[in-house]
Point group: C2
Chain length 340, copies 2
């Protein structure tokens, strides 16, 4: 059996089975995006890592080193944001080809610096190694969260409203244009979606407000895709979900690109991934309050896109004609080893 | 200019210059092997990362996945040991080829599990990505150390005895045999040095006793090579050093391999690297005490190999004939981008 047969999540499950039960100071261990660790202080320590691998997550022709630096930090900050946490310190591990220009490394760090400063954190160490072939940029980010104010994937309850920040699918639209630059779309739409793809904006402040509200039961960032990340929430919460397809927030820019490409912006919204928006569930009575709080305090729009239902119903798509169909398992979500 | 022109340490220096001054909660930041971070509790938080890159640090034919798992954890534990710290939690970031056997990943994790349990820590998370080409195994290790009991590279004082644990050069001798398996040496010597290379034993208990003694002024683990790591201590401490060449602890196994290879075991002891022994400096009046304490409590031998001198003298080799020669700058030490 090969790694590609199991897929990323199959492999993670298998690995978790090989390791001993975590000690009591591990509040959340393997399987979540962020480890939650008990220290002697009043806050929990958060620890996460995420990487950018050349020719898997990026191609050098389509992203500047500065953008890449911002991006690799942003995707880690997004994980901390989805816990309601505050980033503190980062370590950076690089595997670089010997013939890489030093200027590339400079720009990479300047990009990391900008994003890490925006997050209020600092780079405190790391490691550099040589590699033959594709470069790897690994960021390890620490953070903290008040022990009584953090939100996991596992708290969704039947009846909760499923909500997301901003729009979905823009990042995937940006990727489409980077892969097919000749597609004819307006410059403003191109800029919008390419920026969303290349330098996503983690929802740090939104995450903190949501966790602090006390009304958010489960939260994740949308890195794999709405359906895939919702599936993680549902599995961890022993719940099902209904996605209201015609309520999905799809921006005009993404629609324009999808039209030009002859593809479906709805698919990108549900499975494109890498939007780094927040996905969360809230008791219905508080949904409007939470929505208003985020919009007033941050300017970021919040949309209700579905509802948590009984686990037996699985994940269903509720279409505009009233029909409900089970959400297809495979294609709507990013899996490193399954996607070609 | 290319990365290979600057070398690993040149690059780290350049990167440190690009980043803003660290915030006050960073006790030790970029440039040391381990970041030391202030939290709300009585201990400092330690954070380090080190990787194993295929065809740079290992070739798949010469190491089992289990040994590789042990090794990548051990080299991180060694960094925590050199601070006098205690490892707590690890995150593992893997970049794996799609066609890798799942059995390889299993064995890798079983090896990591064994070494991490020996260190008293736990794997709490990580990340898995696809890569085309050479695999990368990145481990991020956290630890703690009492704020009044940790040892840095930067505390060496003129007159200090320079001491090391165990023997030097065995790992390099093991590498020689893995590269040239046909070399004729006894089975026991082969086993000894190959084991030292493939599954180094971090000196965790020794590090804690040394730091706890209050007499150790500076400490590092020997990852790059005695001379190179001593140079780091001297640079950080604004000191020079005299290495007493005929006092270097070279084991009979390493001598046997060097003889068979027509090479010099002394060079391996000074520049071979990857021994993961501890290198530390102690005021002369306490050197014998410290030596006895380590040997009695752990069974690990400790050797005096030189003395800290004035910074202006640089690093000198003191030969058996009484001659002193300046230590050559280049070849005696591992640098990822300088070594072919």
């Amino acid at each position: 059996m090969r790694v590609s047969d199991l897929g990323e999540f199959g492999l993670i499950g298998r690995i978790a089975g090989l390791l001993p039960s975590p000690p009591p100071d591990v509040v959340v261990g393997i399987g979540d995006d962020v480890a939650v660790l008990r220290t002697s202080g009043p806050d929990y320590l958060l620890a996460t890592c995420d990487s950018q691998v050349e020719n898997v997550h990026f191609v050098r022709e389509s992203i500047t080193a500065f953008q890449l630096g911002r991006r690799v930090v942003a995707i880690n900050v997004s994980d901390i944001a989805a816990m309601g946490g505050t980033p503190t310190w980062a370590l950076v591990s690089l595997a670089l080809p010997s013939d890489l220009r030093v200027g590339f490394v400079d720009e990479l760090y300047l990009g990391m610096r900008e994003q890490i400063l925006e997050a209020g954190a600092a780079v405190v160490g790391g490691n550099i190694s040589k590699i033959q072939g594709n470069m790897v940029i690994d960021v390890f980010l620490l953070g903290r969260v008040p022990a009584d104010k953090f939100v996991l994937r596992s708290g969704a309850r039947e009846g909760d409203m499923i909500m997301v920040t901003n729009t979905l699918g823009d990042s995937r639209a940006g990727l489409e244009l980077l892969r097919h630059p000749a597609l004819k779309v307006s410059k403003s739409s191109r800029d919008h979606v390419e920026t969303k793809h290349l330098t996503p904006q983690p929802r740090l402040l939104e995450g903190r407000i949501l966790a602090g509200s006390g009304h958010v039961h489960a939260m994740a960032d949308i890195s794999d895709g709405l359906v895939s990340d919702l599936r993680h929430i549902c599995r961890a919460s022993h719940a099902g979900a209904e996605i209201w397809v015609d309520r999905l927030p799809i921006g005009p820019e993404s629609r324009e690109v999808a039209y030009a490409a002859g593809l479906d912006a709805l698919h990108w919204a549900m499975g494109g991934g890498e939007d780094y928006e927040l996905l969360f569930t809230v008791a219905p009575a508080f949904a409007a309050n939470v929505q208003r709080a985020i919009e007033n305090e941050t300017g970021t729009k919040v949309h209700v896109v579905g509802q948590i239902v009984d686990e037996l119903q699985g994940i269903q798509l509720s279409l505009s004609n009233g029909e409900r169909i089970p959400c297809p398992p495979g294609p709507l979500g990013w899996d490193h080893f399954a996607v070609s």
